[in-house]
Structure formats: structure tokens, C-alpha cells
């Protein structure tokens, strides 16, 4: 590659200009406030972690981790998500704090994507982890909180699809007992969203036709709670049945929250099988081609840090949400104060008073904008006006009247 031009930055990273930052901060503030009201306390962890601990435990695949070497030659990763760092904290600094723990975060995370537009290498996630509660109530709580958070963020319309990794695990175990490699093969097709490949792989397996039909049928297990009944009749496997019963419980709790209209059951939705251990979910907003949130139950992660515990949580893809949220919020109330040297003290005191009120005051000495001041005055008399790219609601001038200069 040629030497970068001065305006260039590495692929996949972004600058956020004031307008975008205002929006991002608003989303962050509203969502974190929403999470706080549900009893989740915010924590912060470092940007860098050891590869051998957090890096290895993370659900992010190895080639998507940003790796660096420190001065001792130890491999460091830039955090790729917040769940593993939080698992580390819960198992160390918060070791004595009793469960359940409710934690929230807002952080930038890093992924080494292939160089292509639209794939951010650094982006923001806002999320929660509920650690130490294995119940379906806990799963429903994080889904309900995800819905509340999307609403707080201002996402206009969205759906949450909920699935369960235990169902497919149980179903495959029953249909292909002991044939681990074939099970893995089928799962990898589903994980890659390759339904054609999945059906072809099924055709090649030696199976009874009825079993093959059942396994093909799972591609249709999407819809409302009735999907659970269909799934129950598909598989007698205790694991699959237990998974569906859990999903039904989650659905029941969500109904008690009054949220059933936001939720779809989708048993074809596959999270990472090696990471998730129970229900998984994803949120989809209209007008956006990528999911806006994802989450699920991961009961095996904490053990890797020495404090085995059930855990469930989700992350909002805050950077993506930025694209679907409108700019409806009114601009801040800004006041431009112009003063002469003689009235400086008076003007600056007024500015301080305005700022204490929580409004925005910008001060300028009169001689800097002598020529434009009459124009500004005329505009300000009509209403909000623009000065040097910034919109002001009011203009206050100190000290010019008696000299008759403006």
C-alpha cells in the first residue's frame, strides 16, 4: 500500500462529528439510564486484555481479534466484546459479591474485519450481563430489558427472534446418536445460514425418511408460541424437550411483561454452539440490513475464569442503531453574547448565569465581528439564527447601544 494521505485513517475506524456524537451520547445516556432503572450498575474494563485469558474465552473467532505484542512479548488483544472482560471481573474483583449480579456497560470494541466498507473495526456496544441466575425469569428479564433499551434508544420498530441451542443439540443427538461428526457438519451448515447445504447434507446421510423429514422440517420452525408445540411433537429427546419447555417459560414471562407482540420464536436461529448454552436472541429493526442487538445464555464462560456460574445477557449494536434513530430531538438552547471591552465583566457574568441554568452561552468580543453584527441583529430579531455554522436562539449585545456603533 502507498503511504497514507493526510486525511486517511485505517480501514474500519470512524470519526464522529458533533452532530453524530450528540446522537450517540443521547442513545447511550437513555439506554444506560433505562438499564440503571432495572437495577443494572455500569462497569468499565480496560481496552486491552491478555489473549490467553479474555481473548481465548471470547466468542469472537481468533482471526477477528486485534492482537498486539507488549514489550515482554506477551500477546494482548483489543477487547472484541464486553462479556468475557466482565466474566473476568466477576470472578476476580467481585468474587465475594453474592449472585445474582446485574452489570451494564457502554464501550468501544474492536474486530479485525476483512477490509470492506460497512464493517467497522471499532464500534460501540451497550449491554448488560445478569450473572448467577439460571432461571427462565432471568432470560426473560434480559429480553424484556433489551426491548426496553431499544425503545429508550429510539428505535422506531423492531422484532426480537428467540431460539434455543438446546433444541437442535437434543434433536441431532436423538436423530444421529453418537455420530458427532455428522452432527457438527449439519450444525455448521445452519451456522453459515446455508439451508441448501443443510438439505444436501441430510440427503447424503443414512437416515430413515421420517427422521430426515423431521430434520428438514426444523427450517420452518419460525413464528409465534405455536412453534413450540410443533417442536415438542418433532422430538422426544429429553434435551430438546427441556429446551422447548424453557422457551415456553420465557415466553410466559414475556407475556406477563406484555411484550409478546415484539417477540418471535425462531428455532432455526443459531448462535455459536460452543459459546451459548441456552436461549439465544437477536433484534431486527426495519430499514436496517443487520441485527441491532444479540444475546443469550452462556453458562460455561464463567468457569473459565474460576467462578462457575450461570449467566445471560445481551449487547445492543449502538453504532448500527445510530443509523436508524431519527434526529427529532430539538437542538439545545444557545445564546450568543457579544460585548465590548468596557462591558466584558458584565457580559461574562451573564454568560456564567446562563450556563448555570444549563443553557449554552458562547461569548465573542465585538471587534471580531463588527461587520457582520448588524446582519446578525436583523436575523436574531426574526428568530433563531446561524453564526459560524452554529444555530443560536438569542443574541445579547453588551455596550454598543450608547456608543451608537451598531
Amino acid at each position: 500500500m502507498s503511504k497514507p494521505k493526510v486525511f486517511e485513517k485505517p480501514t474500519g475506524v470512524k470519526d464522529y462529528l458533533p452532530h453524530a456524537v450528540a446522537k450517540l451520547r443521547r442513545i447511550e445516556r437513555n439506554v444506560l439510564e433505562c438499564m440503571r432503572r432495572w437495577g443494572y450498575e455500569q462497569i468499565m474494563t480496560p481496552t486491552m486484555e491478555y489473549y490467553d485469558t479474555v481473548g481465548v474465552a471470547s466468542a469472537t473467532s481468533d482471526q477477528k481479534l486485534f492482537k498486539l505484542l507488549n514489550q515482554r512479548g506477551t500477546t494482548i488483544v483489543l477487547r472484541s466484546e464486553m462479556t468475557s472482560p466482565i466474566a473476568r471481573v466477576v470472578s476476580s474483583l467481585l468474587k465475594e459479591t453474592p449472585f445474582p449480579l446485574r452489570l451494564s456497560y457502554h464501550a468501544n470494541v474492536f474486530r479485525a474485519f476483512e477490509e470492506e466498507a460497512g464493517r467497522d473495526a471499532e464500534f460501540f456496544q451497550t449491554g448488560v450481563e445478569l450473572v448467577g441466575d439460571p432461571s427462565s425469569e432471568a432470560d426473560a428479564e434480559v429480553i424484556a430489558l433489551a426491548i426496553a433499551s431499544l425503545q429508550a434508544a429510539g428505535v422506531p420498530s423492531f422484532k426480537i427472534a428467540v431460539g434455543h441451542v438446546g433444541f437442535l443439540n437434543g434433536l441431532f443427538q436423538e436423530a444421529l446418536p453418537g455420530r458427532t461428526e455428522e452432527q457438527m457438519n449439519l450444525k455448521s451448515h445452519l451456522l453459515q445460514r446455508d439451508h441448501v447445504g443443510y438439505r444436501e447434507a441430510l440427503k447424503k446421510l443414512s437416515l430413515e425418511d421420517s427422521v430426515r423429514g423431521e430434520l428438514e422440517g426444523i427450517l420452518r420452525l419460525r413464528g409465534g408460541v405455536e412453534v413450540c408445540d410443533q417442536a415438542l411433537s418433532l422430538s422426544g429427546s429429553p434435551d430438546a424437550q427441556a429446551a422447548i419447555r424453557q422457551l415456553c417459560e420465557v415466553w410466559e414471562v414475556l407475556t406477563a411483561y406484555g411484550l409478546q407482540d415484539h417477540v418471535l420464536i425462531d428455532l432455526t436461529m443459531i448462535g455459536d454452539f460452543s459459546y451459548y448454552t441456552g436461549m439465544t436472541f437477536e433484534g431486527y429493526a426495519s430499514h436496517l440490513g443487520f441485527p441491532v442487538c444479540s444475546g443469550g445464555r452462556y453458562d460455561n464462560l464463567l468457569a473459565q475464569f474460576g467462578r462457575p456460574a450461570a449467566a445471560t445477557g445481551f449487547a445492543l449494536k449502538t453504532t448500527r442503531i445510530l443509523e436508524v434513530v431519527g434526529d427529532d430531538e430539538a437542538d439545545e438552547n444557545r445564546i450568543l453574547i457579544v460585548y465590548t471591552k468596557e462591558n466584558r465583566r458584565e457580559a461574562l457574568l451573564e454568560a456564567e448565569r446562563i450556563r448555570e441554568e444549563g443553557l449554552v452561552a458562547v461569548t465573542e468580543k465585538e471587534d471580531v465581528l463588527k461587520d457582520v453584527l448588524p446582519g446578525l441583529r436583523a436575523e436574531a430579531a426574526k428568530g433563531p439564527f446561524v453564526h459560524r455554522g452554529m444555530t443560536f436562539d438569542r443574541l445579547v449585545v453588551y455596550g454598543l447601544e450608547k456608543e451608537g456603533r451598531a
Binding site: G118, S157, K159, A161, R193, D194, H195, V196, G197, R199, E200, R220, R222, G223, L264, D266, E282, Y284, A285, S286, H287, L288, G289, F290, P291
Partner: protein, 212 residues
């Protein structure tokens, strides 16, 4: 992603379009036969509650991945090469051909093997799996030229009838995989427009089963 109910379909211009639109018509969707020849890029098909985006075949998965098209039709060759995060829902069984390794008759292993192809990812992966380290040269067309003029000793390319190969004195050495067109869907559309997409899949798969 749109939610006004109209399904946005990324359609490949050219060879595949004719066969795909025929299949759609057989499945009972009223799709005009001839707008492949028109220069319009976005074509509303209100009869089928769809909107066609006429795209270069290799770009179809990109449109679908980003959600500017809900679904798309694309060859397995492009899917294998582009490796996009989309749902591969249906094998349409049209535009049948195969991806093959091709060379001059009597090919013998060379010291520095070079392979020319339009599909560098597919070719690299295949030879790596075969335990061969080869230099892959990306070309954009007339791949058959490469072995004839000594640019590469083998090529990886799509073969439909084998006629072009025969005329140029080349032979098919190995087949990587067979290729047909696929129906793909965006991750979000697949959930939010589930009913429309599933209905389309069902109609198409009935027809495909009849065709065999």
C-alpha cells in the same frame, strides 16, 4: 430493508436472468420476460408485489448482505467466492454448470505452479485443501487464454458444455463442485418478511421438484 411489504429482489443481469424469470413465471408470478434488455436498473413488478434490482451477478450477494435487497438470485460460484453473510434458502436448479480445474492435455506438475482464475478465493482454498501451494493470478475474462499463451499452467473456471474448452484444445482435469443458481435472503428480511419469503420459497420449490 423496507417494510412496506414490497419484496426487493436483486436479479442478476444476463444468462441467469432469463432462466430465473422463466422459473418465477412457471411458479405463477407474473414477471415480464423482456426487461433484461431494458436499461432500467430498478424495475417495479407490482403484479408480484416485488421490485427488481438489476445487478451485475457478482454484486448480488453484496446488495442482499447490506439489506438494500431483501432477497436475490445468484450462482453458487459467486457465493463461494464472495463469502457473504446471507441465508442460502433454495437451490433453484437453473443455470447448471460446474467449477473445474482446466489445463492443456498431458499436463505435468511444474516447479512453480500458476493458476489463473476469476475466482481467486475458491481456487486458493481448493489447492490448499489439496496440499498444493500455487500462485493464483486473478483475471477478469477469457481465462482460457492463460494456459494457451503460457501465463499459467492451469486455470479454475466455470464449465457449462465444455465447448469453449474443446475449441481451444483444453481439457477438464478435476471438478471442484457443481454450480446452480440459489435464492438468498438478507438476515433481517428473512425474519421481518418471513411470510412473503417463505411463500415464495414454497411456490418455487414446488416447481423445482416438478422439474426434477
Amino acid at each position: 430493508m423496507t417494510d412496506n411489504g414490497v419484496l426487493k429482489v436483486a436479479m442478476p443481469k444476463g444468462r441467469i436472468y432469463k432462466q430465473a424469470s422463466k422459473l418465477f413465471r412457471e411458479a405463477g408470478l407474473s414477471i415480464p420476460e423482456d426487461f433484461d434488455d431494458s436499461r432500467k436498473l430498478i424495475i417495479p413488478v407490482p403484479e408480484a408485489n416485488m421490485e427488481f434490482i438489476m445487478a451485475k451477478p457478482v454484486d448480488v450477494p453484496t446488495y442482499v448482505e447490506y439489506g438494500v435487497a431483501d432477497i436475490g438470485i445468484v450462482g453458487k460460484d459467486v457465493l463461494m467466492e464472495e463469502n457473504k453473510d446471507v441465508y442460502e434458502l433454495l437451490d433453484l436448479g437453473i443455470a447448471k454448470c460446474r467449477m473445474s480445474v482446466i489445463g492443456l492435455p498431458g499436463w505435468k506438475p511444474v516447479i512453480h505452479p500458476r493458476v489463473a482464475t476469476k475466482y481467486p478465493n475458491v481456487a486458493s482454498q481448493y489447492f490448499r485443501e489439496q496440499g498444493q501451494q500455487v500462485e493464483v493470478i486473478k483475471l477478469n475474462g477469457s481465462i482460457e487464454l492463460a494456459p494457451l499463451i503460457g501465463l499459467a499452467d492451469r486455470i479454475v473456471d466455470m464449465v457449462e458444455t465444455g465447448q469453449t474448452l474443446k475449441e481451444n484444445g483444453l481439457v477438464e482435469m478435476e471438478t471442484l463442485f457443481s454450480v446452480t443458481s440459489r435464492l438468498i435472503a438478507n438476515r433481517v428480511s428473512y425474519r421481518l418478511k418471513n411470510n412473503a419469503i417463505q411463500a415464495l420459497c414454497d411456490r418455487l420449490s414446488q416447481k423445482i421438484a416438478v422439474r426434477g
